[in-house]
Symmetry: D2
Amino acid sequence: MTKVKVGIINVTGYAGVELARLLYLHPEVELASVTGRSAAGKRLGEVLPHLASIDLTIEAELGEVELAFSAMPHKESAKQVIPLLDRGIKVVDISADFRLKDATEYRRWYGFTHPAPQLLKQAVYGLTELYRSQVAPAQLVANPGCYPTGAILALAPAVKAGLIEPDIIIDSKSGVSGAGRTVSLQTHFAEANEDATAYALDGHRHLPEIIQELKLLCPQGSLSITFVPHLIPMTRGILTTGYARLASGKVSVDQKGREKLFQLYQDFYKDEPFVKVVEFPPHTKHTWGNNLCLIHPTIDTKTGRLVVISATDNLVKGAAGQAIQNMNLMLGLPETTGLEALAIYP
Amino acid sequence: MTKVKVGIINVTGYAGVELARLLYLHPEVELASVTGRSAAGKRLGEVLPHLASIDLTIEAELGEVELAFSAMPHKESAKQVIPLLDRGIKVVDISADFRLKDATEYRRWYGFTHPAPQLLKQAVYGLTELYRSQVAPAQLVANPGCYPTGAILALAPAVKAGLIEPDIIIDSKSGVSGAGRTVSLQTHFAEANEDATAYALDGHRHLPEIIQELKLLCPQGSLSITFVPHLIPMTRGILTTGYARLASGKVSVDQKGREKLFQLYQDFYKDEPFVKVVEFPPHTKHTWGNNLCLIHPTIDTKTGRLVVISATDNLVKGAAGQAIQNMNLMLGLPETTGLEALAIYP
Amino acid sequence: MTKVKVGIINVTGYAGVELARLLYLHPEVELASVTGRSAAGKRLGEVLPHLASIDLTIEAELGEVELAFSAMPHKESAKQVIPLLDRGIKVVDISADFRLKDATEYRRWYGFTHPAPQLLKQAVYGLTELYRSQVAPAQLVANPGCYPTGAILALAPAVKAGLIEPDIIIDSKSGVSGAGRTVSLQTHFAEANEDATAYALDGHRHLPEIIQELKLLCPQGSLSITFVPHLIPMTRGILTTGYARLASGKVSVDQKGREKLFQLYQDFYKDEPFVKVVEFPPHTKHTWGNNLCLIHPTIDTKTGRLVVISATDNLVKGAAGQAIQNMNLMLGLPETTGLEALAIYP
Amino acid sequence: MTKVKVGIINVTGYAGVELARLLYLHPEVELASVTGRSAAGKRLGEVLPHLASIDLTIEAELGEVELAFSAMPHKESAKQVIPLLDRGIKVVDISADFRLKDATEYRRWYGFTHPAPQLLKQAVYGLTELYRSQVAPAQLVANPGCYPTGAILALAPAVKAGLIEPDIIIDSKSGVSGAGRTVSLQTHFAEANEDATAYALDGHRHLPEIIQELKLLCPQGSLSITFVPHLIPMTRGILTTGYARLASGKVSVDQKGREKLFQLYQDFYKDEPFVKVVEFPPHTKHTWGNNLCLIHPTIDTKTGRLVVISATDNLVKGAAGQAIQNMNLMLGLPETTGLEALAIYP
């Protein structure tokens, strides 16, 4: 059987690197072409020694492929993706360039005028668990951001069931790889090690994405969200803690209510291969290197508040793994193909 | 001039160790006696090589001192402290045994019947910034917990001014030394490294302490608090993010409101040597090894919510440093004596 | 096709856990039974959440299997392995109990009398690259220690070719998971983080193993080795730096000699799927989670000394991965089956 | 009493930052002026928040001081130092620009022609323990490199006593702050975390410095040294392990020899306030933030080899602390002034 040829635009960032790793063992697709901004002409293994087994040269332009992943930064990604779409190539865009439905948001949050607003409607938001049926036939899938993935999955069941008041706090803790491979003082080892800090208090770019998606699920139709991301000294992983008042009369504020809540989450995700509702607060380490999202919902019975925690690997379920999950659907393959590996622990 | 003799009960835990380090250079007191549970008879430097310059043998019973620090675990601490009080010795208790005013809380949160409920009234809660005048003449000071220190200092100005609705979320991220020197799987390097997790979702023992103190400041008189502690892979530091809705009509939800809020915090702490209200989200690294609490208050103008972040070193301002700050007052010394060292960075 | 049933004795240690992870995706064998010292009766996922997809209950005794891995500590392992051998089961023993050929060494280095010295001759030392043909037909394979794996592979080509004087220094730096899952002060997060130290200066138990194997390769027949292991603050990985004087007249002490040396190493390992001779000093991170050993040999031209560096993941090539590599041979499978995954980076 | 005014050239690098921290509490000198390459005009606390208590503005040119520390990179440092010397200002240069006595070495190792070779003779190599009497009257002290400090102190007693053959291996493991504050991929958190690697195998710039100093101590007059530095994932600390064959007939290769060796080291350093000869392999953590060098010498009795291990904080004894130690002597102050703080542990 011939494998489907796929390619990666900008393989040298962390999302691109992780795509290459995961695609290497994928049984149904062949990584046929990779591009990289400054590394064109070099062997992949020269730039990224752990990928030396992949027999490819980094190219300036993507070769012939049926599906392409774009791991370019935002704004640059759209420029590269649009011509591919015109050529009929399927695209999973890991950047933010097609996630938001409202083109004006790009000016507000990303500071540029979107070059192809008409594509925003066509693009499917690739949070597979919520958009599975639209992802399958899509030509363009906008892969969710790392924070939105864990945050939306953690809150979707409660929001959709009208269980909580539409006023949510999302406190996320991210490993440093989330900031990418481009060097900066903030991500310098001696600065980031043994340090924790909050950032983007004026509004992180992932906020409009979280609002857009949770609002669609929300019976009340409107939603207030405070989102504060934090940087903590680990390489991979995002732990997100969500807080919201329980809507009155939905679940009781006691152990029974907790059990009902847990059941509701389990039902919501019962057929999901990559979302596990767990009985204890999850550890990011239990998702290290794999595509799982672990979710623990509970009730603070002293205050009548939902507390829900999710753990993911920001580079897998938060980026490359989810992109492959979407690719699988777009190519008519079983959703879990190539994504079955267990987390690496310890 | 003769130095005041002080002692440490249970010098071998991390709080005890840190007390010894800080007292070593204190110009007005002399560390005259230290005890340790299993290490009695050994030289201090044998058990803790970095303290080898301190010429002391670990004893089974505390020798003659004017003031004693107890760094024993809760329940055990009270047993050792009570006889010292009877002998007229001043005590700063780093354990939780005298922090809560309501004796029944000890049964609920700590699982034991308090042996001396009458002392709870006498004990002064040693959050120096709030109780300075009571600390000075006290015989018994209950040193605050590491989480309460950063949380109460972060929220006190807003609570006292009636700026926020009395419904608060406190999301704290702690380094692993907060769990102490006793080994456990949770704090095993290979488990805690590259991991983040929440814990104590049913209610952490520091919650009643936070509620007790903020309630006293609260014009409304009652208060609802959700507190979720998280463990992150660093040795020292607590970063706390507090969230609460602004009470209507107090500050405007815009940049002006932010400035007013900032001013209110600056005024509140204007004479405090160890609390700095800062213009950017603080880094725990900027408090590494010293007694500062850095606080950044802001308004999420999209939702009308106070977001306030504090950073401390859990072993200094969250334990040993604050204990010495209290000791200084109790001995009539300038409050900052021996605590002037800058943070160690990077 | 029916899969071969295999089992793990003591699945709850780090080597056992890693075996379970790697076997889960192995296409030709089925993990059919696992035992654990204190966890018998529990579901595997209860004790080790990241293994929840493996549908097994931890047992007190191993069930029916064709091949068993023992991940018990030394001395205990032999006790469990011997009865299995009597029943005709193939065994890969990850402990040290069958690595040394001379039974008296067990008394000297491990402090016990070996219960079955006759088995020491029968056991094959499972450094696959050196003993491939003996491993295939063996019933009992003694899987090498984590330090010896990287050290022997780094030095074997030079020793065998008589390139160096038989007087070697091996300086190894290990991640903390090498100390296992049993908690201790040495491996407590707050102690091991931000720390580096040497240990076992009187002689580490892996030394006789290194000597035994390198001596067999050594034309001079005798060999002096100083081996100093160090603990550094990371979870996985061993970096080993070997030093020895070049024997006179073998390679020139210049760039030409370096190239000849490099070629000799490349030839030595040219057919090896899991050993890569690399042109730059290797990073342990480039082996994270996979079975590779990366080796960089060079000459210090200022002193005429061989410097050779190897990097492995102590839990994979240094334990579980190599054990599966041996199992593959013992079961007549291609050696790389189930071990093709790339390293996880970053 | 008026304090002596001192200044720091390039306060914004890690050595400069550490100087500022340590000088802040120095009782006899006043930090009166600081310069910084791109930060001139900013308040010190704006650029380095943990230094906010130091009331200084970063200047383009150093103001009036009696003694200046240069924390500039090599080549740039000499340019700034030479005019200061002409003005009669005392200088402790933390760069390499005056460490090597032979000007041709600068072309070979640093790639530039030394601008003032005549000053190389005048400059005193500031390894205080070896050059105390020359440091005191010096105008220009060349502060040793971080690796040479730990390496030379570890080996000096054995070399000087002729105890070892003049053929030494030095294997050093350094925390990442040693690479400075300038960002790079190598020191990017996600790259350096969970990684160990060797570097500079062709010869590190600190090698000629180590050779120069040990050769001066060496009775044989010539010396062969292989030096391999390694980068390990911690912020501060250097652990150095030195290896050399014992010269025949000097000490016996047994426990007695070990004791004699230990005694010789103790005698060598018996009056040194900052060098401690210790009975167990030292931990870098036990020097975190302070000026100690811990040394453990032993004999590998199986091979007749000296193994000696030293631990320092690369930014204190390896840079800023030692610079202040030298300053104290140059100003006629007790050597330990301002350097008495214990290590911060854990």
